[in-house]
Symmetry: C2
Subunit: 411 residues, 2 copies
């Protein structure tokens, strides 16, 4: 078989598992009889347009680098938020991209990312329908996003580690909140503009008796109502002095307004500070007069390499390897997928699906994953989430902190 080179790049927001997928692509490419050189595109499609590539092969032939890459969070090759236009609107971009492919003898592109990245694959696929066969490149999208909002997959790589970090953090916040013998309400905010998967994962924060320690959970999927909130709190308060509430950043009132963008000063008595959790906390204080605190779970929810789900990392590597397998077997214009097998034990089938069915669609949390009151997780939701956060990764530490690698340090 005549060998050709491949190009792999990463795009969109960082996750704790995107480098595990990169490592999986590289491992399989190194073993493949169809692939020779392995190039990394820097800063996603934007860097590729600007001709920024590195030779990954030499670097990743060293086992320790591959091993460290799997547990290094963020995007090893850098990322971009560049929205590739159609080839009619930006022919120069396409010329640069395909000139680069030609000059480096690239026949396979692996693009690891979320929804915008899959749109990039779709645009390249559309462009290729009008060019000569020998100029075409095998186009493979590999999913990653902490938002878990891609269609045609059971879940996205990166989500499991984010869910584990959020559940752990909410648990520790609940323990922290419970120490003083006084009434208090803590409102924690997690990422998720339209899909509430990350807020749902607060439902995993449970005590040894299996009770969820986030007493209330609100998702963008359900209209948020301040009166209902107060009623919900009153019910919890009957049995509990210290209450923890988790909200998605994207919760909205029934008229579609984001809670974080509330402008109505009258509702609160004074101006509002910004952020869904702050708005909610401020309203609770105004209505109930109890001690409140708003905590924004910060960027660590997407890049906490010290709190990885072993399941997530292992699967992310496998998805990367599968991408190479599909590419060599002739699939193109697809994204790698995972499906949960039928049966009581958790197992995945990996495959691929046409990019048209994925790009620009968004998967939200099904109604059945929430309880009847839409303020907590259901048994079905719990059963969906639990396998994704299982297992811990035995990390390499040096002088008290995890060892993470940077391209410029090992290249």
């Amino acid at each position: 078989m005549k060998k050709a080179n491949c190009l792999v790049a990463q795009s969109g927001g960082p996750t704790a598992a995107i480098n595990a997928t990169l490592a999986g692509v590289c491992e399989a490419a190194l073993m493949s009889e169809a692939i020779d050189g392995i190039f990394g595109g820097l800063n996603g499609i934007e860097g590729i347009i600007n001709g920024k590539t590195v030779d990954l092969k030499r670097m990743l032939e060293c086992d320790i680098n591959i091993s460290r890459l799997k547990t290094t969070p963020s995007s090893f090759l850098g990322s971009c938020r560049y929205k590739l236009k159609s080839h009619e609107a930006a022919p120069d971009d396409y010329k640069k991209i395909f000139d680069l492919f030609k000059s480096l003898n690239i026949k396979y592109l692996f693009y690891i990312g979320g929804n915008d990245s899959m749109d990039t694959i779709l645009k390249l696929k559309n462009y290729q329908s009008n060019i000569d066969d020998d100029e075409k490149v095998t186009l493979i999208g590999v999913p990653k996003t902490v938002d878990n909002d891609l269609c045609c997959v059971d879940h996205t790589p990166g989500f499991g580690s984010a869910a584990k970090y959020i559940a752990t953090s909410i648990k520790e916040i609940a323990w922290d909140t419970a120490v003083y013998d006084m009434e208090s309400i803590l409102v924690a905010e997690v990422m998720g503009r339209n899909a509430g998967w990350l807020a749902l994962s607060a439902g995993l924060a449970r005590d040894i008796k299996g009770r969820c320690v986030s007493d209330l959970i609100y998702l963008p999927e359900n209209p948020f109502d301040l009166n209902t909130l107060i009623e919900d709190i009153k019910k919890v308060k009957v049995n509990k002095k210290q209450i923890v509430i988790t909200v998605s950043e994207g919760i909205r009132y029934s008229d579609g307004t984001l809670v974080s963008e509330s402008k109505d000063k009258d509702v609160f008595g004074h101006g509002q500070l910004g952020g869904a959790a702050k708005t909610v906390a401020q309203y609770i204080k105004f209505k109930l007069g109890v001690k409140v605190r708003a905590v924004e779970i910060n960027v660590l929810q997407r890049c906490a390499g010290h709190c990885l789900s072993k399941t997530d990392i292992d699967e992310s590597v496998l998805m990367g390897r599968k991408a190479v397998e599909c590419a060599v077997n002739g699939d193109t214009g697809v994204m790698i997928t995972n499906k949960r097998k039928e049966g009581t034990e958790y197992n995945l089938d990996l495959g691929c699906e046409n990019i048209e069915l994925i790009a620009n669609f968004e998967k939200t949390v099904p109604e059945s994953y929430m309880n009847h009151e839409k303020n907590g997780i259901s048994e079905e939701g719990l059963n969906y989430l639990l396998p994704l956060v299982e297992g811990e990764v035995n990390m390499e530490y040096k002088e008290g902190t995890p060892v993470y690698i940077k391209l410029e340090d090992i290249y």
Copy 2:
């Protein structure tokens, strides 16, 4: 030897290691020939005044409970912020406390806490100087505080785990920040009103080449100056596109005003949002026009049980055990201390010191632990911090999150 009972309680803010110290006290008390019953006082001295105690002995004879207690963050017995008045000002409080001691045959009090808690021990000691010997109780303070600001100790239990969590978080934030090919500045805020120990620990966040990834660090010990800040940033910008800055919540201008309380709208062009990091970020944006982000490292810095320093937990247990040893040997009115032994290897001597030398004093970061420019850690500071964050704890996980216990669940 005639046996008597002991009472142990916890006070002040939660830490990730205060329960390890409680476990140490209980382990040693269970073994001691001088101690029979082990009572826990709930919610510190406030709960003791109100007669709220539990029998810990039965519960903690179970090995799994002791083992889980050591790695459960927050305060297992609850806490308080109650400032005990002098016995002249609040004679009733003292009557209630000593009536409780008498009714439960308490001869030893172990009080685990920070500076306010040591003041409680001091007040009880002063009170005891005027009562009959047979009413006296052996008074032992056991240190804990993430702030590391107690005198007469090399460091305080709880600080090492907080420092490890902060260093790890800053490292992951730096990795997250570096993904886009654009100039940006992230300002992270950590706890510390007067003492900058926690901000100093950002100096532990280093890459595999040993370079600190928090490019600038500002402590409350040094007057904060906005012009100097901008000059410092300009120097870093020469070599780096994405900059990470760590500040203590307590940084102050040379006139003593807290940066977080800046009221001068003219300096910023508009109103200020609150928090030291937000103020600093806003000023940077105003002066340099680059993309900025402020991140407040949340309460997890004091209660992240999933990111413990093994050294911290092991030492916290030993400090608890030492408290019982000192009590039984006749020490009273003291706090348990640790001193670093001379020599290149890290080793501690445990002992105790009169509470008068500790209560109401505050230990800040020595000048020599910072670099010459007072915007980063020195080699000496690094050598001080490094042993405190060494080692990881092999945690018990269940369904994806660490197992933590609550009093009401196992009692």
